[in-house]
Symmetry: C2
DNA sequence: ATTATCTATAGATCTATAGATAATGC
DNA sequence: ATTATCTATAGATCTATAGATAATGC
């Protein structure tokens, strides 16, 4: 059970002894995710969470020492999911024999599908990140790790790239991939800036763009 | 003096009658921009702003009916600057005789330079946007307007584009331009995720990428 | 005479705790 | 006997106002 530096003993979560308690804890976390993603952390009071979870304020404090502990617990859930996702999705074995364009295509599909599954999660993450500098750097490190894994996959396929500076091209292409996917998902979430791109169209144009930029054979 | 729908009489700003008052009002707005951009709106109390501006809490309330009025006043400053910027930067006359790639190059330089001038402004805007849905849609509309102006410039130059669907290419390229520039500036602000791209390098690769994607002659 | 500023504080809201009651499972 | 839950509330923090004082400029 590895504990990151930002999950200190200062913010514990009670370990449940009864089924009833475990279920309540889960309900509280789900309620927090829902409300945080909708209104942000600060605009959500413990009373709101208790109400949504169907328990009392005291009940929340039985399970989580304070609001910060609850926030960190939810954060850990999200962080662990991201790590699991990237370890599966970016393992070199998974992409054995694949071309760069296949990897891009596959990752886009995976990212969009993963977002469909838990549409609140991304927004909840963003809201929680706002709370503390330490959390921000934790996710910055995580993104860096993911970028590095992706770099490895692309570097193994350097001979496909005709861009004059392949290393720079890989770095820029990955930034582009992350920024564009992020922007697309954010637009999906808000649904107000509908730029009209449907999912399949977005995937097509992303592939075309990255392929053209790197100059893939 | 055009008033957008989100600046109603409900949130007034006192019109100053004395030089002294005008200066204080400006100092309060500057203090708010600084503190909002650093800690966010909710983590900044009126007392914090008063202290930073060198006046009292009552002083702040003399100039702005409530915190919301102050926030909206700052918002209007930022919004007006954006409109002025886009009207100058995106006017068809400015780019008479220019190629698409020249426009991209010029706009990137302008955007980066504008950010250098007021490095807090972008972050302050983001923090203020978080406060109200109405403000978010206001800026969504503004971005839409800017995207439309840019679309006009590109559409006039459709014959440069060899992408099979020029209209789609223009739309996607503009999204890409906005998302990547946004991401680059955000990275400049936080300074922690230093992906190592310096300004000149970023501009070069952006031009290469958009040019390759649209298939510019 | 009007405008601008200050100090002190009422009122609202939220977090976190204390102390009591109910449910679980050895 | 322990774990889980509830209700009621103390304590902290912040917004906004009231009422007094100081500065400005006609």
């Amino acid at each position: 059970m590895s504990k990151s530096h930002w999950i200190s003993d200062l913010h514990w979560v009670r370990s449940t002894q009864q089924q009833r308690g475990h279920k309540t804890q889960t309900r509280i976390l789900e309620a927090a995710e829902k409300l945080f993603s909708k209104r942000g952390v600060q605009d959500t009071s413990i009373a709101d969470i208790a109400k949504e979870a169907g328990c009392s304020v005291g009940g929340v404090y039985h399970h989580f020492r304070d609001k910060r502990a609850l926030t960190h617990a939810l954060l850990k859930l999200i962080s662990d999911q991201m790590i699991a996702f990237s370890d599966i999705a970016l393992s070199p074995e998974r992409w054995k024999g694949a071309k760069i364009i296949d990897i891009i295509d596959g990752l886009l599909e995976l990212s969009l599908a993963s977002h469909e599954e838990m549409p609140l999660r991304k927004q909840a993450k963003i809201e929680i990140m706002r709370e503390e500098k330490e959390i921000q750097s934790h996710f910055a490190e995580l993104n860096q790790k993911i970028a590095t894994q992706l770099t490895v996959l692309f570097k193994e396929r350097t001979e496909e790239i005709t861009h004059p500076k392949p290393a720079l091209a890989i770095q820029f292409a990955i930034n582009q991939f992350q920024a564009m996917t992020e922007a697309y998902l954010m637009q999906e979430i808000s649904e107000q800036t509908n730029t009209g791109c449907v999912s399949a169209e977005f995937v097509e144009e992303m592939k075309r763009s990255l392929s053209a930029y790197m100059g893939l054979k």
